[in-house]
């Protein structure tokens, strides 16, 4: 497998095929006298911003800190992943992970409070 071609930036779904995000980063572990080992994939804005520039990554992390949001990306151990043709399947339940923290916050605090969000006339 070629990590960048076959894994980086791919869609990540949980075990119930719920979309969690994308593979924003890949963490390799370098140990003396051993071949590099893939340890985790990362999902998170700071990882993405670091890919654009480290300076931007630091700015975003600082900004997150000011708002009381953890700048740490969510890491999924490599052993819990299955790399498919179109998606990477993570053997986790998305809603119980930090990957959907924003989704759940918005659902509870904003979208869920707007009339019609749960039971609309037209949508099933």
């Amino acid at each position: 497998m070629e990590l960048v071609r076959d894994c980086l930036d791919k869609q990540v779904d949980d075990r119930s095929q719920r979309r969690m995000g994308r593979v924003d980063g890949i963490i390799l572990v370098l140990e003396p006298n051993r071949a590099p080992r893939v340890a985790y994939v990362e999902l998170g804005v700071t990882t993405l911003m670091n890919r654009v520039s480290h300076r931007l990554g630091r700015v975003v992390a600082r900004w997150f800190g000011r708002w009381g949001i953890s700048p740490e990306p969510y890491r999924i151990p490599w052993g819990q992943l299955k790399i498919g043709l179109n998606t990477v399947i993570a053997d986790v339940e998305a809603e119980k992970t930090p990957a959907l923290e924003w989704e759940l916050w918005l659902r509870k605090k904003v979208i869920g409070r707007i009339p019609g969000a749960k039971s609309q006339i037209v949508k099933q």
């Binding site: 930036d9 989704e103 979208i111 707007i114 969000a117 609309q120 037209v122 949508k123």
Partner: protein, 405 residues
């Protein structure tokens, strides 16, 4: 029979997407200032968009992916982020122009200033997206948009000199105001080759659960819909050439637009114009709003679908809500919708390479499109469109300065 109905609906839907404030305004300006001479720009833009929309649909039907999804995966986050910012800003401008267009239609109908309509229209756009399904938005507004056929009927009734109309389909050099001529040509191309059209179309193919079996239907819908849309745009140009040019009107304000239909249909023509402008812009506003939300959600891997309840995809719903709130600000603060339209069409033309270049790679990638890869002819066309897009990107800003007003 079911397939014929599907194709007919698809064509009508594509027309609904094609005709919007930009194509109406630029075609009217072209006819009012240069008679039939700029018909070639609509024809050229129509041919380009037929190929791009067909490829976007084929890509989605075969690979099961949308364009932003594949662009992020194939070109990496940095390219996607660049495209996201550029396309997002341009789409926001076009959306603001569409909302302004609906507001102007309501100003024409009621006499109440357009800025008063910005919040109600923003709310209506949001409410339809919030409560509706993809099918309702796609087909409902498109069918209502058939009112724009009034332009075709009007142009036919006036018996234009068909030989001159046909001659206008071939490019020719301007006899006066060269910078203005080329600026309008660029704006027409920007209005025709709108990236929101093929991005929305690719998301729509996934929403409608297209499979490989839709490749043939997709070809007919793309060709039929975009050709039909181009014919309506040409009709607007013909009407402007026959009715605005002799009166010395140059479409410097939307209030001049009713003259396109009132001499033909009388008082009914006024309401047909108001209906055409309002419905075409409302439909486009909904499609562009969704396209921005799709681009965001697909690029970042969020849950997305217009067919799900908002609470099941809070980030997607939040994205289109914020998009509408931002896009209604220009109209709310009284920024002239015509100025915004002309500027946003030029901005679209200037940024075309960003969204068109990926086609060449994606449509030749066996891992995505397998045996449905582009043949040599499609590749020659895409390379030609990319070359045209780069020329537009280079010439648009100088032309905006020298020929923009």
């Amino acid at each position: 029979m079911k397939k014929i109905l599907e194709i007919a609906l698809g064509i009508v839907t594509s027309v609904g997407g094609f005709l919007e404030i930009g194509s109406i305004a630029t075609a009217a300006q072209a006819g009012a200032e240069f008679s039939f001479q700029l018909i070639w720009a609509i024809v050229l833009g129509g041919i380009c968009i037929i190929f791009l929309v067909e490829q976007a649909g084929r890509f989605a039907a075969v690979s099961g992916r949308t364009l932003p999804d594949a662009i992020r995966e194939r070109f990496g986050f940095n390219y996607f982020a660049f495209m996201f910012v550029v396309l997002g800003l341009v789409s926001l401008m076009v959306l603001a122009a569409e909302i302004g267009g609906v507001c102007i239609a309501l100003e024409l109908a009621t006499g109440i200033g357009f800025q008063w309509w910005a919040i109600p229209i923003g709310f209506v756009v949001w409410l339809i997206i919030w409560t509706g399904t993809f099918g309702i938005i796609e087909k409902g507004v498109a069918i209502l948009g058939l009112v724009t056929l009034a332009f075709v009927v009007g142009a036919y009734i006036l018996h234009p000199p068909w030989a001159q109309v046909a001659a206008g389909a071939l490019p020719s050099l301007p006899q006066h105001d060269g910078a203005r001529y080329w600026f309008i040509a660029v704006s027409i191309l920007g209005a025709s080759i709108s990236p929101y059209l093929f991005f929305f179309y690719s998301a729509g193919a996934i929403e409608d659960e297209w499979k490989e079996t839709h490749v043939g239907i997709n070809r007919i819908i793309a060709a039929g819909g975009m050709s039909f849309g181009s014919v309506i745009s040409i009709s607007v140009l013909v009407l402007a050439a026959l009715l605005l040019l002799p009166r010395g009107m140059k479409v410097e304000h939307y209030k001049e637009l009713p003259v396109l239909l009132t001499p033909v249909f009388g008082k009914t023509g006024f309401w047909l114009l108001v209906g055409s402008l309002g419905i075409a812009c409302l439909g486009a506003a909904m499609e562009i709003t969704l396209q921005i939300a799709y681009l965001t959600a697909q690029g970042f891997g969020w849950n997305w679908s217009e067919n799900q309840r908002p609470i099941e995809e809070a980030r997607f719903s939040f994205a289109y809500t914020i998009t509408i709130l931002i896009a209604m600000l220009p109209a709310l603060f009284g920024l002239d919708p015509l100025t915004l339209t002309v500027f946003s069409m030029a901005a679209t033309a200037a940024t075309l390479p960003v969204s068109i270049v990926p086609f060449l790679f994606l449509m030749n990638d066996y891992s995505y499109v397998r045996i449905y890869r582009n043949g040599w002819f499609s590749n020659v066309v895409v390379i030609s469109i990319i070359a045209l897009a780069f020329v537009l990107a280079v010439v648009t800003i100088p032309l905006q300065i020298f020929g923009g007003s």
